[in-house]
Symmetry: C2
Subunit: 333 residues, 2 copies
Amino acid sequence: MKPVKPLALLALSLAFLAFPKNAQADDPLPSWSDGGAKQSIVDFVGKVTKSGSPDFLPPEERIATFDNDGTLWCEQPLYFQLLFALDRVKMLAPQHPEWKTKEPFASLLKGDVKSALAGGEPAIAKIVMVTHAGMTTAEFEQIVKDWIATAKHPKFKRPYTECVYQPMIELLAYLRANGFKTFIVSGGGIEFMRPWTEKVYGIPPEQVVGSSVKMKYEMRDGKPVLMRLPEVNFIDDKTGKPVGINEHIGRRPVAAFGNSDGDQQMLEWTQAGSGARLMMLVHHDDAVREFAYGAESKIGTFSDALMTEAKKNSWTVISMKDDWKTIFAFEKN
Amino acid sequence: MKPVKPLALLALSLAFLAFPKNAQADDPLPSWSDGGAKQSIVDFVGKVTKSGSPDFLPPEERIATFDNDGTLWCEQPLYFQLLFALDRVKMLAPQHPEWKTKEPFASLLKGDVKSALAGGEPAIAKIVMVTHAGMTTAEFEQIVKDWIATAKHPKFKRPYTECVYQPMIELLAYLRANGFKTFIVSGGGIEFMRPWTEKVYGIPPEQVVGSSVKMKYEMRDGKPVLMRLPEVNFIDDKTGKPVGINEHIGRRPVAAFGNSDGDQQMLEWTQAGSGARLMMLVHHDDAVREFAYGAESKIGTFSDALMTEAKKNSWTVISMKDDWKTIFAFEKN
């Protein structure tokens, strides 16, 4: 046998590396069924990243924005941040004996969530403010971290950070691998998301846009703190989304992903720029694997008017039932 | 002569590449004089980037924030944004005949800037609002781009974007080469800075934090626009700087650079984190090459109280006269 030359060995291993092991490993979106939704993603990414293409975008313009609730993670039976607030009310109750007779807290503490939320937005605002304000940003971060590490989803019996959509996790990674900067633009609280988005989605705190309360810088025992005040600073929903995008990113996205009426303006704003664009809406139509809801739902409303807009503007509607082979990574276990 | 083997040639060229051409080329901060200020930068970057060092920081935590006016670019004889507003008033005057008799515009149009600004903050606010609101964000961006491309500094007779401090440009690049993410955190308008910061400082729009007006999303001829309203949204100065940092970045900086009383809280907030930190203040003490001003100045006040804080907290004060070999790149021409 002739001795194998080192250079020949090197050439061989390079050839091996370049050779695809199997088709599955080559597909960056394995949880997406072949079909229109997947194809529109691959086509869009292909044309904006192909040098010389009329739709080519330099990397700094590859900005993609994602709603969170109902787009990246589940939002049923209630927005997870509201479930967090309800858990927090129970935890704080011993320090607030007055809540026993004061709505919406009284109903909540009796386990009657429906009556507690019957007061609508003012009731929700009261719950959010007592659970989200009056502490420093560092204290709130720790409260969120503790909850997210221990709380479990009522239906799936899994940590909330596992109730994230596997196809969207793949999409985020695929876009980033193609030079995109991925942002969250959510109606949820900016400081409720930041403690875990980097680990779960690969999205760092500075790329999270959300709703916020006002903050006050002050000295406490000679150390500076930021106090969270019981006053709304910004609501990052509906017409607020383009405003939040402009304030935080300062560039118009070229791709935007949502799932409800709250995302319409973000998609309009994205589409109104020149050049190639990708606008997609997740439609929750899989009652077996997740939840099925739409126009009639108070959480994540997908109205008939939004469906009309989607058709008129050629936005891609993703059917969770048909377009997603896998919804949650834990399904496979 | 023996033929030179290709591999030997390759080895030779690699050795050549690795060999420093001269000491100057190796110094990432050539406009900084050797001394305490430069040394404190190099020491800090060395210890936080050295793997295994007790001060090592993973790249995602290498956040550095820079004030703009007086820290990255000049701020005399007036904040450049105010000079922009004054130019803009002159340009808009034909559409506003009432300004001829209405202060602060009447004085301004007579060329009497001092009297116009004698009304203090309310007068300045009036000037800023008529020049910065009532148009879309896209229109404002174009107005800023046109001005920055044509206007010249009254003393240096150069475009404003050349009136930037060469040592700070080198510092920004040096930090980024060491894995830092560099942000502007300025009292200046966020949309006044974004049209040019990427080109001039290498800082993209999404890494610019500044003051802002309220915005309204609306449809105009079937196209969505963001209207700039004549109402303050956020003032990114003094105690506002840590608030702005928290809202936009969501992480505490490990290095912060300023030059005036407006930066004190940003430096305090930066220092209050655990681990190695770098806090620096530019001191304008070079009347020959730039301007000399400090406690007595209305623009960029560096009060005695700030100097006391700097000493107490071991913040490094940069003497423009002694620590900077070159202030502006155009000096060399």
